[in-house]
Amino acid sequence: MKKLLAGTAMALLLMPGLAAAEPKSLADFKLADRIAAKVAAGEELNFFVSYQDVSNEFAPQIRVGVEKADAMDGVKATFIGPVGSDADAQINEIEALMDTMDGLAISSVSTDALAPLIDRVLAAGIPVIAYNTDNPDSGRLVFAGQDLVQSGVEAGKLMGGVMEGKGKVMILTLDAAAQWSLDREKGARDGLAAFPDIEIVQTVNTGSDPQEMYASIENAMLANPEVTGLLSLECCTTPAAGSWVDRNQKAGAVKIVGFDLLDQTVEMVAAGSIQATIDQAPEAQGFAAVDLLARFLKGEPIDNLDTGVGIFTKDNIASVMKQ
């Protein structure tokens, strides 16, 4: 909770926010008769929060937010999703549960693959919101989460700042083809474009196994010894880059900006091996996903919700360190 609050507090200071869409209200939505009847009778509403990979590092944190929302009156919130980023499995699970759901919050494995399903769920009179990863090609009502392009821009600006505006940067990602990675990379490149003396050498696709990640960084750094900045686009190559810097006595010489607050990342920021990391408040996203659905069915207008960009450096990382 401390992380959640700290991240959210930082976000208020640092991010311009998602572009507001036209607020969505129940009056403009053709709600399924069975759900309308439950709302009218004040019965408990059954929401499903589908995450793109329940086995990844964020799933437990998002689930905590969902469980907090589940404790609200009149709401039953269930965290679901595939093990591994499997679009077919996510579609099959939602299809199987469609008749029992009164609302769906979804973080899509693939925006293209899930958009038709989201539209089908909406057509069945079930409200759907996107959270964590937006699906703007679908008719989802609103999006709650971090603007991935914007978070990439912030990362690019941070990288430029810690490199004092000059040098060579390598971008690291565990899945260069994933939509979230493409969005963040675009943002990062945009952010770095403000520094004309910084050159982006290459994007390294590390794969998701920890050994693969480290080996990819090791190989890439050997091939490009002139690199003085590593910009990781996600949770997991951030500490791997920190480990490489530590083991090669490059702390300070090679600057690192990354994402999220894994234990190792937090320690490395505190130790100065990683210069900055950006949090996306996963607990807040999980909570907001359910809260928005509940408010929508109560008749309140809802709009896009920015869960923010929390920036942590050596100066403020103590606020999220385990006691």
Partner: protein
């Protein structure tokens, strides 16, 4: 080494020549690749890079040694990526719970060996094809480690409760260097490969593995306990996957159940097959496997050094695997006639 293996499958000196030719072909491919990369990039042929490659292929190599036994015996094991994750994470959890290095490693290794044992029992007495039995085990073990960790990363450090001395020992086996130069992972790979070579090529157990994989019926008639041989091969595989998983967590002292070792089984099988081990059983050598592992490792390293795009890297690695196996098949088939 080679005499015994070939004799078990197909007696005669022709087989000996063929096997030598097979390893030579893989070796020549490796040398050609190394020469090309040396010419293309002056950072390839440096002691730092070569030791990096050695370390990077070590865990893959340790598992590929086990996979050689399994494939030669005529079976396959798809569960090793999950076993790798379970054993590494279980050992890590024990260390941060205050246990010493030895008990933590023993628990990890026993986990792996038991999984291998169950795979062996299902594939023999259970009459399930090993492909199916281990596919099921892949999923069950991955689920078990997710349940065990609740999907949260396990980080072995002082903050999470590891004893400083135990942590130092754990870090040494994964991150340490012998004489300040040779990575410990590489040392372990060499030791496992040497032991694997001895076991497969110089012991009666190795002879039986070849005999069972070459023709289970003939082996049974010869008095070999076919089921026992296969069960031992799969148990060995499980233990080696577990050992690699423990070393992996010791190297990067944080593991996550949903990522660690994901898809690793395919890399291990690919490296073993590139090294000349037959998917049909009865053929293969540890030396060939080592060469296969090195081809995969050098390829990955070289593609990054030469700046090939990450998407093209995946394509090229797949292409090399197909070409290597195809050349092997095309060049060895006439000898079998």
């Amino acid at each position: 080494m080679v005499d015994r293996s070939v004799t078990a499958v197909k007696p005669g000196s022709g087989g000996l020549n063929r096997l030598r030719g097979r390893e030579t072909g893989v070796f020549v491919a490796l040398v050609v690749m190394c020469v090309a990369l040396t010419l293309m990039n002056d950072r390839f042929l440096t002691s730092t890079n070569l030791l990096n490659i050695g370390r990077q292929v070590s865990l893959l190599g340790i598992m590929a040694v086990g996979m050689t036994f399994v494939l030669v015996s005529g079976e396959v094991d798809l569960s090793i990526g999950s076993t790798y994750a379970l054993a590494g994470i279980a050992s890590g959890m024990m260390i941060i719970s205050g246990f010493g290095l030895v008990p933590a490693m023993v628990v990890g290794l026993v986990c792996g060996a038991v999984i291998g044992l169950i795979n062996g029992l299902l594939s023999t007495y259970g009459r399930l094809p090993s492909l199916i039995a281990t596919l099921g085990m892949l999923s069950m073990v991955r689920g078990a480690v997710l349940i065990l960790t609740d999907g949260r990363p396990v980080t072995v450090n002082l903050r999470n409760g590891a004893d400083p001395d135990v942590l130092a020992q754990f870090q040494f086996i994964g991150q340490g260097y012998l004489f300040g130069i040779v990575p410990m992972q590489l040392i372990f790979f060499v030791l496992v490969a040497a032991a694997g070579w001895f076991l497969l090529a110089r012991t009666s157990f190795g002879f039986r593995v070849f005999a069972v994989g070459g023709s289970a019926k003939a082996a049974r008639v010869s008095g070999i306990h076919v089921q026992a041989v296969k069960i031992w091969a799969m148990t060995l595989m499980g233990a080696l996957a577990a050992f690699a998983g423990i070393l992996s967590l010791a190297f990067l002292p944080s593991g996550q159940a949903g990522r660690m070792g994901m898809g690793l089984e395919l890399d291990v099988i690919a490296a073993t097959i590139v090294g000349g081990t037959s998917l049909a059983g009865g053929e293969g050598t540890i030396l060939g496997t080592i060469l296969g592992v090195l081809i995969i490792g050098v390829m990955r390293n070289g593609l990054v050094l030469t700046g090939v795009s990450p998407f093209a890297q995946e394509f090229l690695i797949g292409l090399v695997i197909v070409i290597a196996v195809a050349i092997d098949k095309w060049t060895t088939t006439p000898h079998r006639a």
